[in-house]
Symmetry: C2
Subunit: 175 residues, 2 copies
Amino acid sequence: MNFCSNCGSPALKNVIPIGDNRHRLVCGRCGTIHYHNPKIITGCLPLWQDKVLLCKRAIEPRQGYWNIPAGFLELGETVEAGAMREVWEEAEARVSIIGVHTIFTFTKFHHIYIQFLGNLINGEYGVGVESLETRLFAEAEIPWDEIAFESSHFALRKFFEDQKNGRQQVHLGAI
Amino acid sequence: MNFCSNCGSPALKNVIPIGDNRHRLVCGRCGTIHYHNPKIITGCLPLWQDKVLLCKRAIEPRQGYWNIPAGFLELGETVEAGAMREVWEEAEARVSIIGVHTIFTFTKFHHIYIQFLGNLINGEYGVGVESLETRLFAEAEIPWDEIAFESSHFALRKFFEDQKNGRQQVHLGAI
């Protein structure tokens, strides 16, 4: 941010506003406080029989690596609707949401991943424009060294652990 | 947003960028795409014996109404750390997080509430600067008509329902 988005002034200062306890960018001309907050990435791991559906990324970052369908939550949609939209966009698949699976914080990049589990409807899927390839993987087939993000690695590990233990719970992770 | 925060130009246009499928504010001078995404409000319902700790808000919106301690997630903190910080700021209390309780989307205001359950440590609490009063409530004492936000009303209802049913699960809500 180089200019105040309210008045266009370049006179931005990094100060602690009165009544606050953190540094914020404040406009020296109009006084607008510019808050910056983490963004939500919402996704869903589609399940079919004993397999999970992953997408090979067609776009950066991590092009060519496998990922759980996910993307930025948009204005005006619920977290679960956003997850279902991403599954459609990346894997041309429909899911029925089972529940929340992980909430994973990337503290450095200011991203919060909320990942659901969902049942893949009719076992049908395709390849969305943001994917090079999509595929169902059994646990033994997961390309662990080619998973795009730590959040997805975490979600996959926890999913198979939970399966072995016959339980479903929400896992909190961070990096 | 009246001016581009990158170059200061007022030439912002609401268009669908190439490769996108949604309208975004795009700068007609430097081409910066200004994405706007929902923000996370993180909070925790502190539990002590058969009671829950609520705070009467000292600030707008909904000044004078009772609420679960919560606030905007800040850059660089995990969702659960943010929830514990808010409990401290609003109720001068420490909690140990039990787990995620609700994820509630305010689609109109672009806020996503992530609410945890936590055990109030030693049953100790005070009154933070953003609160007029704090108090432990048994279910029969909850001032249902004076709860600040629908997200908190939802979280409280679901908590007492779960208690009756002897279970703990994550509830998705939206308005």
